[in-house]
Symmetry: C2
Subunit: 203 residues, 2 copies
């Protein structure tokens, strides 16, 4: 805790809550299944939290800290307010991604009182490093949810960008590090998408 | 747990995760601060989760179960997939609201394996009943966040519906039951909105 009064801390925290309202305007390549409009980062983050509380029983790690996973996912995309969304298959844009996002983390988490700025930055660093059971499971749902939406929109985002099965598998096989059961499901789902012609096989 | 295999449970859970993608298309009366478009329930739910992890230290209850608050907020609006959003100041529509939402809860949570259907229904019932420290704090942020967005959009939703200060205070004073510090902030914020002409005083 810093030396601010509770009222002064609260006022600073509410400015942060207002600032991150911008996450609702950061649009992804994934298409929502109903309206077929691009998904934004805020609704994506909610959908991942929902996935966690539904699917946590399948995690590889037997005693996952679910609260910690949720905290990571609630803040994991905030850096995109400044750095923008980087499409998972855009290798050119991915080159400078971490530097752009680290600068964004400095600014955005820096709006909070110092102790909370450190806590939230540590959550984002942990998510990026993908070494703990919690960050591996968070990554598993962050990779799986766009695949699910792609499969339920006839492969819309994959086909728009000419992505093939081999690239989908290479990008997403890390799901198994957090949740082997989910990766088995995902592999079958991707094969079905190929079988019905919604995803092109490897060239 | 039921007698389904892990793979069969997972398949059923993923159909639930797909079904609730519809939450992204349920629009509220509140206007987002950047694009000035109506907020949807999914991004609203994310914003509430963010509020919880930032503001939990201010809760009246000294040892709040933050994971439980988050779980409640992640699922609290799912019933609106069937029942629609009911505007907080529409007293006519609010009359049948609970019955409509309870039928929606039966259908939507019923898509999950039985043990999870019971768990999620209990979360929603607890949120509706507002008797526990966790549901009181969840309600506090659910009431506060739309007030904040209203104040930062020059009172857009309030003015669109002719809402006056007395109704805003009457509707939202329950914030104090979960978080007195937040209600003090909110009262001042509302008075400032009146002072600058973004919210009409009581007639």
């Amino acid at each position: 805790m810093d030396s601010l009064s509770p009222a002064a801390r609260l006022a600073q925290q509410i400015e942060f809550i207002f600032e991150v309202d911008k996450l609702k305007e950061i649009f992804r390549q994934t298409i929502n299944t109903q309206s077929r409009r691009p998904e934004n980062d805020a609704e994506h983050s909610w959908h991942l939290c929902l996935c966690v509380i539904v699917l946590a029983e399948h995690a590889n790690h037997p005693s996952l800290d679910v609260l910690h996973v949720l905290k990571m996912l609630i803040v994991h995309d905030l850096v995109e307010i400044d750095a923008g969304d980087t499409f998972a298959y855009d290798t050119a844009a991915m080159a400078g991604q971490h530097d752009r996002e680290a600068r964004a983390a400095d600014r955005i988490f820096g709006l909070l009182p110092p102790d909370q700025a450190l806590e939230f930055r540590a959550l984002w660093d942990e998510f990026e490093e993908k070494q703990t059971p919690e960050s591996k499971f968070a990554t598993a749902v962050d990779r799986f949810q766009p695949m699910l939406l792609n499969c339920r929109t006839e492969g819309a985002a994959w086909n728009h960008h000419g992505i093939t099965q081999d690239r989908v598998v290479a990008r997403n096989r890390h799901i198994a590090e957090g949740c082997e059961e989910l990766w088995r499901y995902a592999e079958n789902m991707v094969q079905s998408a190929v079988d019905v012609g919604h995803l092109k096989p490897a060239p």
